[in-house]
Symmetry: C3
Subunit: 167 residues, 3 copies
């Protein structure tokens, strides 16, 4: 690994982070700018196969567009391999959680992503993203009595309604 390799790993990682922040903030134009036009995606551990950037964007806007569905996608543990100067693959560990206020369910799980990246001009872009789940679970929010949402990116502007921690 040399300096050019370190810089590429840094730029590819930052791309992945921007993509995931856009996903959780439902910032669809920012997310679209992370993808090549011919990008492909496999979501749901293989349940959904999408063949273009346009198809990915339509899927995400439809599946995650509601602000009553709050999502947290957290990746760690990148293993980035350069495939020549303008291409790379990456493995990441995902931990995610979805709080669906409207449908009254919570989903959480763990997975490993396998991505492909491509250099286009001065930028790294995602050419393929997909993951395979270690596990995924769903439960009705009513099953945890008195479970209470105390902050919401859109409804409370991200501010907590909890009082100061009792000391």
């Amino acid at each position: 690994m040399d300096v050019d390799g370190l810089v590429a790993v840094h730029e590819i990682s930052t791309l992945k982070y921007r993509y995931l922040r856009a996903l959780d903030q439902k910032d669809w134009p920012a997310l679209e700018r992370c993808l090549t036009e011919d990008a492909t995606a496999t979501y749901g551990g293989g349940a959904y196969e999408l063949g273009s950037r346009a198809a990915i964007m339509a899927f995400l806007r439809d599946a995650l567009g509601r602000t009553s569905m709050l999502t947290s996608h957290r990746v760690t543990q990148p293993e980035i391999d350069m495939q020549g100067a303008g291409a790379a693959t990456g493995t990441w560990a995902l931990q995610d959680m979805v709080v669906d206020v409207e449908h009254g369910v919570t989903i959480w799980g763990a997975a490993f992503y396998t991505d492909h990246y491509r250099r286009v001009g001065d930028d790294w872009l995602i050419a393929h993203t997909g993951y395979k789940r270690t596990f995924e679970e769903i439960f009705p929010r009513a099953s945890i009595e008195h479970l209470q949402l105390t902050a919401h990116w859109w409804d409370t502007g991200g501010r907590s309604r909890l009082g100061p921690p009792a000391t």
Copy 2:
């Protein structure tokens, strides 16, 4: 991005990690050394505004001082932008969990931090930290029947009381 940039990103990231480890280990002197004297903080997604290092330290010691309140703050997905040679901003994704044994509640949530960093002598320090929550939830621990704490940093010295996993 050049080598100097990579080094700065590394040093700023390590600063953030030291701050968060000090927070979860309640090592207040170590945490204080991460902050500029005029550091400001916004906690609770905007619920608390603190205007100096002394005010931040007083708040944290008061809010999180009890060892019956066990916290886990985990950040990923840094997007660090240099603002000249001695200043930088950073966005991080947070996932946190609080187990409050005394009050019998668990709190967990997700947020995005926006920080400012400043170089002082040879060190990077935190000049501002704050976050906005995607979601935050609280529930009484009694709502999950037979939920049992099996390790505690202070009460068991961090050692698990679980037997070996059944095979």
Copy 3:
């Protein structure tokens, strides 16, 4: 910190990520290749002390061998310190979750790892790994009514059985 230091931090981090991926994917040969022959480990926050690579491998195969035990180990927040050219120590923040389908329990927790790394030929290897827990909890899965596993690395090939999110 210079370029050589950055490269070492990168290589050590990637080693840690490969070790944890092997752990969650139960890829024991890949995990074994991450360890020095005289590697030692402390698991369970001090509950288990293992004195060699062979002992570590026997413990992990026995404790985590079942595919009915799904694990997610996620580390963040590395603080790597070089100890000369061929040795280093590292602190990491861990967040882990175990879904034990067979025994009907879920375990989750938070901890801080302290590792030792050693350079052997061209590779960094783990010479010691161990952690101390901030907290750890266990609960019967039946305590969350209608909690349902919807993906499983081995039983569903990592694919989700959930329908598309309702929109």
